[in-house]
């Protein structure tokens, strides 16, 4: 069984925010097909961390949105990566006490998140939906949050947070006139106004232009260095790679991988790949590939050559040499299954016991 990408799998993973207990990882690994599989071990998580999920599931009728997920998070930035519909929002809503877990425990600062409004002193939530009371000015919206948090000086607190997200210039306009990126920033200001130790952000970079994105990443980083626990969701690999210390990969409601980004990046690129190749002589190239240990098989059908290889980088190193040695000119080498979707699927099935 391949090494788990959990904590400590990589030597440089010491400052990783995401931590999956070995037991939890085991549970995920041993439960391949469906919820009916017995889970051999209880997940062990560190209950002293600010965010704790202990074997949490959430289902809607027969649909399982979150499936037996355990992890605990401490200070630092953790990226929650997964395709749309993977259960990211459900997970964040569970953490924010806006959904009742169907099974398991969600703890914020040691207290159950469900039906416990006092957790909102410690949480700032930036929901994915843009909806903000459109008739309020940005400033009034942030001051509303400050008042409902019971801050001693809501006006000053709001002004400071608005400056932090670089919205001072537009703060006195109605939110209804804002662009997507501006709404996103004013929502972040409202979530930050009480300086919560935990910040949950659902797809926070949606609609931001590159400059705003960089600014927001700097802001989140500086908050993380001051000891905050930050969890943000994204379906974009590069966002997570640039910002997160630790990463949780979620696919089809399951925790597919957790830990250090580089480890997961390696897993993603070193998985078996299929390439489509066009060349001056596909037939000769196909037989030349067969002699290579990195190639599982090559197939010529309908004048199209597809090559199955054991790992991405190994193949890309040899393909040019093989073609040259065979005296064949390459026109195109394209991976056929490089969608993020297939990457996630691979990670899940790999953890489910290498069924591929």
């Amino acid at each position: 069984m391949a090494a788990l990408p959990a904590e400590g799998a990589d030597g440089a993973g010491g400052d990783v925010g995401a931590r999956v207990a070995d037991g939890a990882a085991d549970a995920v690994r041993r439960a391949p097909a469906g919820p009916s599989m017995p889970i051999a071990q209880l997940a062990v998580v560190d209950p002293s961390q600010p965010i704790v999920l202990d074997r949490v599931s959430r289902w809607y009728g027969n649909v399982v949105a979150v499936n037996d997920i355990s992890f605990s998070l401490g200070a630092g930035i953790t990226g929650l990566l997964g395709p749309n519909g993977a259960g990211k929002s459900t997970l964040l809503h569970l953490l924010a006490g806006l959904l009742r877990p169907s099974a398991g425990r969600v703890l914020i600062g040691g207290r159950p998140a469900w039906r416990e409004p006092s957790i909102y002193r410690e949480i700032g939530l930036v929901p994915e939906r843009e909806a903000v009371h459109a008739f309020l000015t940005g400033r009034a919206f942030v001051e509303l949050a400050a008042r409902l948090q019971g801050l001693a000086d809501p006006v000053a607190a709001a002004a400071r947070t608005i400056a932090t997200v670089d919205m001072a210039g537009a703060a006195d306009r109605a939110v209804g006139t804002y662009s997507k990126g501006m709404r996103q920033r004013i929502k972040i200001a409202a979530a930050l106004v009480h300086e919560p130790p935990i910040l949950l952000l659902d797809e926070p970079f949606n609609g931001m232009d590159p400059r705003q994105r960089l600014h927001m990443m700097d802001l989140l980083r500086s908050m993380a260095t001051r000891g905050r626990t930050i969890l943000f969701s994204s379906h974009i690999l590069e966002e997570v790679e640039r910002l997160a210390d630790g990463i949780l990969v979620i696919y089809a409601g399951r925790l597919a991988a957790a830990g250090d980004f580089r480890e997961i990046r390696r897993l993603m690129t070193d998985r078996p790949h299929t390439f489509r190749v066009r060349s001056s002589d596909d037939r000769r190239l196909a037989s030349a590939f067969m002699a290579e240990p990195a190639v599982f098989g090559s197939e010529l059908r309908d004048e199209r050559l597809t090559v199955r290889v054991s790992e991405f980088s190994g193949f890309t190193r040899i393909v040019a040499r093989v073609a040259r040695d065979a005296g064949v000119r390459l026109f195109e080498v394209a991976p056929t299954d490089d969608s993020l979707e297939s990457v996630f699927e691979y990670l899940v099935t790999r953890r489910a016991g290498g069924r591929r």
């Binding site: 949105a65 519909g85 259960g87 990211k88 929002s89 459900t90 809503h93 924010a96 006490g97 806006l98 959904l99 009742r100 039906r115 409004p117 006092s118 957790i119 909102y120 002193r121 949480i123 939530l125 929901p127 939906r129 843009e130 909806a131 903000v132 009371h133 008739f135 309020l136 919206f141 509303l144 949050a145 008042r147 409902l148 948090q149 019971g150 801050l151 001693a152 000086d153 000053a156 607190a157 400071r160 929502k187 409202a190 106004v193 009480h194 300086e195 001051r226």
Partner: protein, 257 residues
């Protein structure tokens, strides 16, 4: 982090009165800024216009009480309350803006109370003057008629808060508050409670009539519940508010993931 900053963000002892005033103000602004509010204002003006037409036509129908019952108590009052009551909480839950209010360290009843108060107040603000104008136009300015008109107006004022509470609770309990609320006002309040004697103890329309009959000159309004209408209205407000607060504290976001 400077000392001043700490102080400014100090988690002060939460003043729930301030919180409720803040939520109420935002709710009221949201409701008043909607186009639907103008439409519902026109709707509330309809009985007044009708009274005006009757006046201009020169006829004066003798029976003021059935007119006010039909025009105000069983149509304008529940429908105006339905629009404000479901919009006060339901539309915020639907469009997602409620999340910004819900994710604050305040008990959920402190969110429900200002919503109820605003929904009831706005309903009363429209229906109370509509009742008085309609009553004066149809009934004229005889002492008995004025007494009857004001009796209905005060009963309708209290009824606004009962209906407001019911519709706020409905939208906390279900995502189809408007539809279910409409069905409730038409079927339960409109048809059943008129036809079946036993259901009258659970009909807001009956409470309003009871309160009006208590306040009005002797014998001008017939009611089953009579002066118990006040007590029943009060009980209804309290019970329904409690249900609304309980439902909101178990509120689960209606995610479309």
């Amino acid at each position: 982090m400077s000392a001043g900053r700490r102080d400014e963000r100090r988690p002060a002892q939460l003043n729930l009165v301030d919180v409720m005033v803040t939520i109420g103000a935002v709710t009221a602004r949201g409701l008043l800024g909607r186009r639907r509010t103008i439409l519902i204002g026109l709707f509330a003006a309809a009985p007044v216009l009708l009274g005006l037409l009757i006046r201009l036509g020169g006829t004066r129908p003798g029976a003021l009480s059935p007119s006010l019952e039909g025009l105000i108590v069983s149509s304008v009052l529940p429908l105006v309350a339905l629009v404000f009551g479901t919009a006060a909480l339901g539309s915020e839950l639907d469009d997602g803006t409620a999340v910004h209010i819900l994710t604050k360290p305040i008990p959920r009843w402190a969110i429900v109370v200002p919503k109820l108060a605003v929904a009831g107040s706005l309903t009363a603000l429209l229906v109370f003057p509509a009742t008085i104008l309609t009553g004066l136009l149809i009934g004229g300015t005889g002492a008995r008629q004025i007494g009857l008109t004001f009796a209905f107006a005060i009963a309708v004022l209290i009824g606004s808060f009962v209906y407001g509470a019911i519709f706020v609770a409905l939208s906390a309990a279900t995502s189809r508050g408007l539809v279910i609320g409409l069905a409730y006002s038409l079927l339960w309040e409109g048809l059943l409670s008129g036809a079946l004697k036993g259901t009258q103890l659970f009909s807001v329309r009956e409470y309003v009539k009871g309160m009006a009959s208590t306040l009005a000159p002797q014998g001008s309004v017939t009611s089953v519940v009579g002066s118990f209408g006040f007590l029943l209205a009060l009980i209804a407000i309290v019970v329904v508010s409690l249900i609304a607060a309980m439902r909101l504290s178990r509120y689960e976001i209606r995610a479309a993931e």
